[in-house]
């Protein structure tokens, strides 16, 4: 792909962008949020049409004007935003458009067998007949991967496939990628996780602001070089000074929280100024705990104390009133009002503050705050009146963070706060979380990335199958955490740090 241009209203997404992929290579595409990675790949896969430039396949210029054409040319893609049919089963999703038929009638048995075969090759335990809407995001992502594999493409684009996956699943994916590579498939790999890039990629192409910056070999190039090419400067990676919080008063205490099999007798406390990390495998129940505390789901039993007072929380409204904010792991469905603009999304949880006694909104005030957060969090958007759905994934996440910052909650629950966020922004968010903790806020961070949990947390709570299996001090080792995360018997050997 050479000299590719693409503009959206008010945004120049790509300008003379360039990309080259060899057979049998894993080529990483890197860049900050909004650098144009997804847009470039959508052009390659026939979703968008380009404004200018040429695409060559095996040396021949090609016109790719529809996803179908891309498929026919052997180009497959896993989109960054999940594109699944929620009401269909996993198998039906995978083979949509290519259903096996017998006498014109769908052969559902064959369909499920084929899907099961793919799952098996991925070492994935999943019923082909389960409806995807009942799956966690991670499982849905695996279904997307299975779907892309089923095409047996010569070129496979993976746009942040691991954003929702845990380490075991990522390892599985990498095994698959290596297998494909051996078969001569060219893989485009987009991710914000630096360690993955080092592990998997043969070459790395870096983009910035829609432009091509350079291509470097994957293994040899130091991470710092890649990062500085991405952001155009070097990032300081200061070790964090973690102040002692043991003497601080408890801000949030949860006692004996229960909800079916997802949450079993969970109790813990977070102090003012403390960051409590939540680690665990996918489906361990961390999200469920967060949602139950926040009143998003009903809980069967359990008490919540805020600043020592028993808080009766049965709806998110109660939680917000008690000073709790929750940043969901699934921003598209639960975080962002995608039709509203950035300004209103930022203000969404704090509209009362901008409402006069007769109900009229203070637009100027909202704009001021929104613009200030756009600056603070470096949200990449043409203006605060841009529709939120037009922002790149990472920038959408920042908008949701801004919403809770503006609301000024004492207790903040961040569920996968850096999912899909680039390194630059990630370190900004880390700094932000530290600053918030320093201001005396109590923070819970749920993350599937162990390094992130380790880097941020004063203490680390580990969950397994709905139980809190232990709380470790910030300096715990990865092995300790994984031990608790796979601990089936909670009664024994729980090491509590206070």
């Amino acid at each position: 792909m050479t000299e590719i241009d693409k503009s959206f209203p008010g945004v120049r997404a790509l300008s003379k962008a360039r990309f080259e992929l060899l057979p049998g290579e894993v080529h990483a595409l890197m860049g900050e949020n909004g650098a144009g990675k997804s847009t470039l790949m959508k052009i390659l896969s026939g979703v968008y049409s380009r404004d200018a430039g040429t695409v060559l396949l095996n040396g021949q210029p090609v016109e790719i004007s529809s996803p179908r054409q891309a498929q026919d040319l052997g180009i497959g893609i896993i989109h960054q935003e999940l594109a699944l049919m929620r009401d269909l089963t996993a198998a039906q999703n995978i083979f949509i458009g290519r259903e096996p038929r017998r006498f014109g009638i769908l052969d559902e048995g064959q369909l499920n067998r084929d899907a099961a075969a793919i799952f098996q090759s991925m070492n994935l335990k999943l019923e082909p007949t389960v409806k995807v809407e009942t799956l966690t995001i991670a499982k849905q992502q695996m279904v997307e991967i299975a779907k892309a594999l089923s095409y047996r493409s010569r070129v496979l684009i993976m746009d942040e496939p691991t954003a929702a996956l845990n380490d075991a699943e990522i390892a599985e994916l990498f095994a698959i990628i290596n297998r494909l590579k051996a078969e001569g498939v060219g893989v485009v790999y987009i991710s914000h996780k630096m360690d993955e890039i080092k592990r998997i990629s043969d070459r790395v192409t870096i983009m910035r602001d829609g432009e091509y910056v350079g291509t470097v070999p994957g293994a040899e190039t130091p991470i710092e070089t890649i990062i500085s090419m991405m952001v155009g400067r070097t990032l300081s990676n200061d070790a964090l000074v973690i102040p002692d919080t043991a003497s601080q008063p408890v801000a949030l205490e949860v006692r004996n929280l229960n909800r079916g099999r997802e949450i079993r007798d969970v109790s813990f406390a977070v102090r003012k100024g403390e960051i409590l990390g939540f680690a665990g495998l996918m489906g361990a129940g961390r999200t469920e705990v967060a949602r139950a505390i926040f009143g998003a789901d009903r809980r069967e039993s359990g008490e919540i104390f805020v600043h020592g007072q028993r808080a009766s929380i049965s709806t998110p409204k109660d939680a917000v009133a008690a000073g709790i904010g929750y940043l969901s792991e699934d921003r598209k469905h639960f975080g962002l009002a995608t039709g509203l603009d950035v300004r209103n999304n930022v203000a969404l949880a704090s509209l009362e503050r901008f409402t006069s006694p007769i109900g009229v909104l203070d637009e100027a005030g909202m704009q001021r705050e929104a613009v200030s957060y756009i600056r603070q969090l470096a949200i990449k958007t043409p203006s605060d009146t841009q529709e939120a759905r037009l922002l790149s994934g990472g920038n959408q996440q920042k908008v949701v963070i801004a919403k809770w910052l503006l609301r000024d909650c004492d207790i903040l629950i961040f569920d996968e706060p850096t999912r899909g966020i680039d390194v630059g922004a990630k370190s900004e968010i880390y700094k932000l979380l530290n600053a918030l903790a320093a201001q005396g806020k109590a923070i819970i961070v749920i993350s599937s990335e162990l390094p992130e949990v380790l880097r941020l947390s004063h203490r680390i709570a580990v969950m397994c199958e709905g139980r809190l299996t232990g709380i470790l001090p910030g300096g715990a080792s990865q092995e300790e955490i994984m031990g608790l995360a796979t601990l089936r018997e909670p009664a024994m050997a729980v090491r509590h740090a206070s």
């Binding site: 979703v47 529809s66 996803p67 179908r68 891309a70 498929q71 989109h79 594109a83 699944l84 049919m85 929620r86 009401d87 269909l88 039906q92 949509i96 458009g97 259903e99 038929r101 014109g104 009638i105 769908l106 559902e108 809407e133 009942t134 779907k147 909800r259 079916g260 469920e288 949602r291 998003a296 789901d297 009903r298 069967e300 469905h333 639960f334």
Partner: protein, 333 residues
């Protein structure tokens, strides 16, 4: 429409109720109504009356099945009522004005329906006009055309003696005289079976659900969504053609002025039957139950000689309650 609230964090705690029982419960609203009316009037549970209810369900049932398909794609078809009339008039023109044989008339009506569906589908898929507007426009166009081609008067089928057997004859009654089930009801069941088969076993059915579930995802999967969308609207149109034949047969005439307003009953049956207006989910069986609930209610209230204005009030309340009961049932599961 916002019944998409959330991907239901599904609080599954109790023991799982078996699938068969689940399905039985779906009938609960209908059964409750039947029990209530049986207790209130001895005339309700007579064979004659049950046949009358089934007969009364036939036209709306077929229309509702037609509407089910497009609603599952996340669309809507407001033209089902006037399209039914249009097809009836086409049959009238073919059989009475042109004097062609019965099968030609039947085929003509169904083809007219499919053609109209094709037009609606094309407007929706190719011109990207929202289904509500496209089919609202078609509703008016078909209404006008029915009047035009019929010469604004009813067309009678007196010269086609077999015609009224389509709905009124009783094939079953000839074999089992005790159960003179009218053919119209058989047609309804046949359409239901075929529609259920198409929805669950064919590619068309698969894409119907897929489109309603996430159209963009289907497109990104390289499927020609326009073609399938047009196909779904065409099938809906063809089924409206069957409804047109049924009503014409029942009235032994094509009434060009009738039809508007029928779409609301049909859509109501679909939604009462549990199909979501936001698309992606729905069943033909549910629609049948929805249509039956509407007819049982109308029949029962009339049998009880409830004053008509109160009939309307009660019908409104029960429609809401039936759907609410269904929601409670699903939540309990």
């Amino acid at each position: 429409m916002t019944d998409t609230t959330a991907p239901a964090p599904a609080a599954k705690t109790g023991p799982r109720i078996s699938g068969a029982f689940h399905r039985l419960l779906a009938f609960s609203g209908l059964i409750a109504l039947i029990v209530a009316f049986s207790l209130a009037s001895p005339n309700f549970l007579q064979t004659q009356n049950i046949l009358a209810i089934l007969q009364a369900t036939s036209v709306n049932g077929v229309l509702a099945i037609a509407a089910t398909l497009v609603i599952i794609t996340g669309g809507i078809d407001l033209s089902v009522g006037t399209l039914m009339t249009f097809c009836a008039v086409v049959a009238g023109v073919i059989l009475t004005y042109w004097g062609l044989p019965l099968p030609v008339g039947i085929l003509g009506a169904i083809l007219a329906g499919a053609a109209s569906g094709l037009v609606s589908g094309t407007i929706i898929a190719k011109l990207k006009v929202p289904p509500f507007i496209a089919t609202l426009g078609m509703m008016l166009i078909l209404k006008g055309l029915s009047l035009v081609i019929s010469g604004t008067k009813p067309i009678y089928f007196n010269d086609t003696p077999g015609f009224n057997q389509i709905a009124l004859g009783s094939f079953i009654g000839q074999i089992f005289p005790a159960v003179p089930l009218p053919n119209g009801v058989l047609v309804l069941f046949a359409v239901a079976l075929i529609a259920a088969f198409v929805l669950s076993k064919t590619a068309l059915g698969r894409y119907t659900f897929a489109l309603g579930s996430n159209e963009e995802a289907v497109r990104l999967s390289g499927v020609n969504i326009d073609r399938w969308k047009i196909a779904v609207y065409s099938v809906t149109g063809a089924i409206c053609g069957v409804a047109g034949l049924l009503i014409a047969s029942r009235l032994n005439s094509a009434q060009p002025a009738l039809g508007q307003g029928y779409e609301l009953d049909a859509i109501a049956a679909v939604v009462i039957g549990g199909t979501s207006l936001s698309g992606g989910r729905g069943t033909v069986l549910g629609t049948l139950i929805g249509a039956l609930i509407i007819s049982v209610l109308a029949n029962g209230l009339r049998i009880l000689s409830v004053a008509q204005e109160w009939q309307t009030v009660v019908t409104g309340c029960i429609i809401i309650l039936a759907v609410y009961a269904d929601i409670l049932r699903r939540r309990a599961l």
